[in-house]
């Protein structure tokens, strides 16, 4: 028996295999559907991505999976009933959506809002902004695999939702802001609860920063990723953190103040990198500014009525029903028919957590709006997706979607 020679290479086989049939080389990008049921698409967003290897050739957000017909439903409901619809559209910033709608309706009616109601609106709006940014920080982390941040951000968010429940009776849809003011006065526990969360927030935000800001993985996945230039951001009409991360200091609270924001001292944080990391840093900084604003508002909370005395818009207080026939008539008329703003149109915009949240309300003089249209920031921001990921790795798409922070209910409404 000859020993097996392991050193000399074996002779090539003598039989030849037939050559494979020649196929045409397809030089076509691969089409990949991301979503609509993908954990990183923040709801039901489908992105049709065309890939050349790992590189993105095009990315089309395909919206409409969460279409609820809210815009149309507004036309069938009286103005006050519309209050229940506005927050349901953007479920992460319900106060801002209500506020935009109410400001538009108030413009139509030409009704004055008492100072106390305005200050309370500011406090709630800033808490709303913080709660929304907390979701951003937590979920952005979750999308990129940093799964512990969300545990801590949701702890503080929970406290804010508890405050919403305290004032309005529900965590997500308090329906507390009404045309002409608020639905009721603040409960006695309010100030202590708000002071408590405002005291805790700065330290809590430091905690999130310890987890993320200097974390090498976090920076690897966000620095220089999903970049957009100032020109592109402006041309696409984006707002909030996307625009401000490119160096444009555009904030409606400063540029077109509403609810007396001009009287508060706060800064609009701006960065110039235009990438996902800059957007994250901006939102952290914005939360700190919001704490400042809420503190100022709380310290100047005036006493007085919480709703306008105009009986055509707001119901009479219940104790008047018992004694005044006139109050009963107003009450019945208001709730069986609703108020009728003069024919005309009004647009009101607020700086929502995701950008300019605008409500355009057209009245034909009846008790129901003829048309309500929202300029929802999530929808507009989503258009920047392709610009951000073109020519980049497909994995960066997740970062881009997360840092755009779309709320699909607001996109599709």
């Amino acid at each position: 028996m000859t020993p097996i020679d392991l050193l000399t290479p074996p002779a090539p086989p003598t039989t030849t295999r037939p050559a494979p049939p020649s196929r045409p080389v397809v030089d076509e990008p691969m089409v990949l559907n991301i979503g609509p049921h993908h954990p990183s698409t923040h709801g039901v967003l489908r992105v049709v991505v065309r890939l050349d290897g790992e590189l993105v050739v095009s990315a089309d957000p395909d919206v409409g999976f969460l279409h609820t017909g809210i815009e149309k439903t507004f036309e069938a409901k009286t103005y006050v009933k519309g209050m229940t619809l506005a927050p349901r559209m953007g479920y992460l910033s319900p106060i801002h959506n209500s506020l935009a709608y109410v400001l538009a309706v108030e413009k139509l009616l030409g009704v004055d809002v008492p100072e106390r109601a305005t200050v309370i609106r500011v406090i709630l709006a800033e808490l709303d902004r913080i709660a929304s940014h907390l979701v951003f920080v937590g979920i952005h982390g979750l999308d990129l695999g940093a799964s512990s941040a969300v545990m801590y951000t949701f702890r503080e968010r929970e406290a804010i939702l508890d405050i919403m429940e305290l004032v309005g009776g529900a965590r997500m849809f308090p329906i507390y802001i009404r045309p002409g003011g608020l639905s009721s006065d603040l409960p006695p526990e309010f100030e202590a609860a708000v002071t408590d969360i405002l005291d805790r927030l700065p330290a809590a935000i430091d905690g999130y920063e310890r987890l993320l800001t200097n974390n090498v993985f976090w920076k690897d996945r966000t620095v220089g990723v999903a970049v957009i230039s100032a020109e592109e951001a402006l041309a696409l009409g984006t707002g909030a953190h996307i625009l401000r991360a490119t160096g444009v200091a555009y904030d409606l609270r400063k540029c077109a103040p509403y609810c007396g924001y001009e009287d508060y001292e706060f800064d609009v944080p701006v960065r110039t990198e235009g990438d996902a990391y800059a957007r994250y840093l901006l939102r952290i900084a914005e939360m700190r500014e919001s704490v400042k604003i809420a503190r100022q508002a709380l310290s100047r909370l005036p006493s007085g009525p919480y709703v306008t005395a105009d009986r055509k818009v707001a119901p009479p207080p219940k104790h008047e029903l018992a004694t005044s026939m006139e109050a009963v008539i107003h009450h019945f008329k208001l709730w069986t028919e609703g108020f009728r703003p003069p024919a005309g149109e009004a647009y009101a915009a607020v700086e929502a957590p995701r950008g300019e949240m605008g409500m355009y309300v057209v009245s034909d003089g009846t008790a129901k709006p003829w048309r309500v249209h929202m300029r929802s920031p999530s929808f507009v921001n989503l258009q920047a997706l392709e610009t951000m990921v073109l020519g980049r790795q497909v994995a960066d798409l997740v970062t881009a979607v997360a840092s755009l922070d779309p709320v699909m209910g607001e996109v599709d409404r």
């Binding site: 009933k81 405050i163 329906i175 609860a193 119901p315 104790h319």
Partner: protein, 253 residues
Amino acid sequence: MGYGMGVLKGMGITFRHMIETYTIGFKLQPSAAGDLPAPTGVAGGMPTVTGGMQTIQYPEEKLPVPERFRYLPFLLYDEEQGHERAHFDGVRCTACGICAKVCPPQCIWIVQGKGDDGKPRPVCTEFYIDSSICMSCGFCAEYCPFDAIKMDHEFELSSYERHESWVYDLQELLHPVAYHAAIHPTDYAREVEETRAKDEAKRTRDAAKAAAAVAAGGDPVADAAAAEEAKRLKMEARERMLAAKKAKEQGGG
């Protein structure tokens, strides 16, 4: 900073939080003896302890909800008959229909009661709320002029059947006023105060009227009879108008 350091730093933070669950949070947990007290560190629906372990042993323990918390509406009845706000069998609802009108998804259905003479009376004989449609907005409770409908704090409503059991009828909706007073103490205090103020106003008004009548030399009893007569005539006119309207509607198809 290397990746290893990044991992260690992140782990360090979560580890500290884990230690806190034993140093801060552990004290909050119920005793191991098995009796579960109401969760500590909670006041008026707001957690007051914010560090460490915050687990609530649901469903044995429940977080109290704030007074304004709303879930589904319920109807009120007064236990004591003859209460000023009670209309019929103690049920406060007058079937005015405001709640059904303001309800945004229109999930309230009311049938107004009729007297023996066939005339509508301010009572409801049937009252349905479809809880699967109700959006928990609380408008019905807010706008009921008679404090007859309020929002419940009960939120565990799952059932094995999802059609009939989700439509609540009058019997399921009725709750005693004492229940309302227990879950809405502030609102109930306002109500009591209003009733008192109203009674007082009525008494002073009546007294003033009687005094004026005496001063004018009139007979208060005859005056009252005249007022009754006027009221009756007014009601009759209203009935006629309603009948005419109805006939017109039917005629119009």
